[in-house]
């Protein structure tokens, strides 16, 4: 698959996926390509993959995750201070998740536990306290809100359709605990409020997700078998999930409700 991705607003193919928007576009393009490939299979060829029985032992799953991130900070304040300070531009989170698939439930799928990590940052200039001066100077000193969400979840992946009937979709669900580090830099050092409290802390909450994975093995079944035999990677997927994290109580709510996409490998 030699696919060149064009980023919006540019006339050149993107050689690096540095811009988050471009990364999103690339992943979407990959998903669309996979969809098109399924649709363009020759007539008479079953779009379902032939069920395999030659899998190598499967114990884990690795996900590379990417998606927009907008924390629910304003749910923990009296006014929408987050929106007023950072605006409503989209910011993105990059993350990883590693699952240990402990048990294969017959005719259902795998049940396991997983741990995830991600990172995102929000930046905006510090603000002149009211009343504003007549000629407001340009402020360059920025506050950076850094969020490092982590979670531990139970994961159920229902892969019996793909394994037993060749339907290349694997729905899944996750439920567990979330834990996040967050810290604010005021442009010089860690921010400190008027009470002398440092602007860094942890938040504890809940994590849940529902999603579906597209089994990429159906595009090149022989290559998938070879990869399994050579590297132990049983399956590779593109996935799309709706993820909900919440950090209520007397703490900064750095959770979010968002779509996440990415690539998953089962090993």
């Amino acid at each position: 698959m030699n696919q060149r991705v064009f980023c919006p607003g540019t006339s050149q193919p993107s050689r690096s996926l540095a811009k988050p928007a471009c990364v999103a576009n690339a992943l979407l393009a990959s998903a669309l390509f996979a969809n098109t490939a399924l649709a363009q299979m020759p007539a008479g060829v079953d779009w379902r993959s032939n069920p395999r029985s030659d899998y190598s032992p499967q114990n884990a799953a690795l996900e590379v995750r990417f998606g927009p991130y907008r924390p629910k900070v304003d749910e923990s304040t009296n006014s929408p201070v987050f929106e007023e300070f950072f605006g409503d531009d989209k910011r993105y989170l990059l993350g990883l998740e590693l699952d240990w698939q402990i048990w294969r439930a017959p005719y259902v799928g795998t049940l396991g536990v997983g741990a995830g990590w991600g990172y995102t940052q929000f930046s905006a200039p510090n603000q002149i306290p009211p009343p504003p001066p007549e000629e407001a100077p340009t402020v360059s000193q920025e506050s950076n809100l850094n969020i490092m969400p982590m979670y531990a979840v139970g994961v159920l992946r229902i892969d019996s359709l793909a394994r037993n009937f060749g339907v290349p979709f694997v729905p899944y669900g996750k439920l567990g605990l979330a834990y996040a580090l967050w810290w604010v830099n005021d442009g010089v050092a860690t921010a400190v409020n008027d009470a002398g409290l440092k602007g860094k802390d942890t938040s504890i909450g809940t994590q849940a997700a529902l999603g579906v994975m597209l089994l990429l093995d159906v595009l090149e079944p022989s290559a998938a078998r070879a990869m399994d035999a050579e590297t132990g990677v049983n399956n590779s997927y593109l996935f799309l999930e709706w993820s909900v994290s919440d950090f209520g109580g007397d703490q900064m709510n750095v959770g979010t409700n968002t779509w996440v996409t990415g690539l998953a490998l089962e090993m």
Binding site: W103, P137, Q141, G187, M252
Partner: protein, 385 residues
Amino acid sequence: MANTIGKGVKRGALSRVRSVAAGLAAACAVLLCAPATWAQSSTITLTESRVSRNQYRQDASRRWWISYEDCVRGDAFTFPLGVSSNSNLIEVWAGNDDCAERRGQQDRGQCWIVAAAPPDTPQTTVIVPVRNVVAQSTASSLVPMEYDASVCEGSIDPDGQSVTFYFFFQDGGKALTGGITWDAKAAGGTGFDLVGPAPPGSVDVTVGESQLSISIGDVDEEGDRERFEAFCVQGGTAVDPPVAPALDAGGAAVIDAGSSEGAAPPECSTPLLRAGQRAPLGYSCGLASETSGTLQTSELVNGTTYAVGVAGQDILGNAGALSDIQCGTPLVLDDFYEMYTESGGRGGGGFCNLSFTRQSSEQGRLMALGLFFAALLWRRTRSRE
């Protein structure tokens, strides 16, 4: 015992000292009081590891080079010499030619005398003020008079000049055998470079809390430049006498109060900073690497208007001419965390500030559910085994 030389000692006076010393040596020899090893031959030795300067440079590759600040502050080399003759005057020359050979031809401009001392003990310490090196005086064969800091303004070669020091006995205007040289080649050599690199073509000052942010633009390639240095002076500041060493040359000498060319804008007017001229020492307020597009100043006073200029700085720390002078006023600002807590937001205090009481009851129930789920999986795995 140390002899401090190079402070206006004239050759005539030294000759008299030499005569007296020779006379005393002869008298001692008669009285059999002279150390035998000292009077037998004429050699000078120098233990390189014992050479010192008042101010050591951080950059070890140019430790012995002389910068503008070294010159203004009146630094000096200290050379501890081992001397095996007490009958001849020791002269120290600097230059980039064979100065021992060419002694007496200093009018060529390649060698010049920087100090002289009578070798009155086997261990003689010779002090060479760096201004004597920088002055490069070839006007006479006299040991240089004590130069003031204005001599530092006379060195305008942007590439500087490497030098070698020559130590030799002289007798009647001739250099005797037994002299030595010192060029510190293993430590990057020695010499003087008092001129800093060119400033950025444009600067733009924006506001922060207790600091200013300076955008640096239109930067020309210049191999000599290592970093940029910002200078901040409170608006309305005239000449500041307490920083006397800086103002001897770096301040008062460069200020032309009668002209407005390159002057600071009226709202932060000061005669101390002027575009195209060297800033006075003592007003540095920040450094940034040569490749950085932004320079953050060190801590400034909120609500005070500053005149701000940026200069290039070379490896020796020489700041060059200033960029255009801009005004900036640091202000009290609200960062996100201040606004968050002012809006009733909770949390903060550090990563180790764990408080389980802040979790909601739902989270507690979910945590219990998670533990139950994990226990179930564990039990299932055990039973399968």
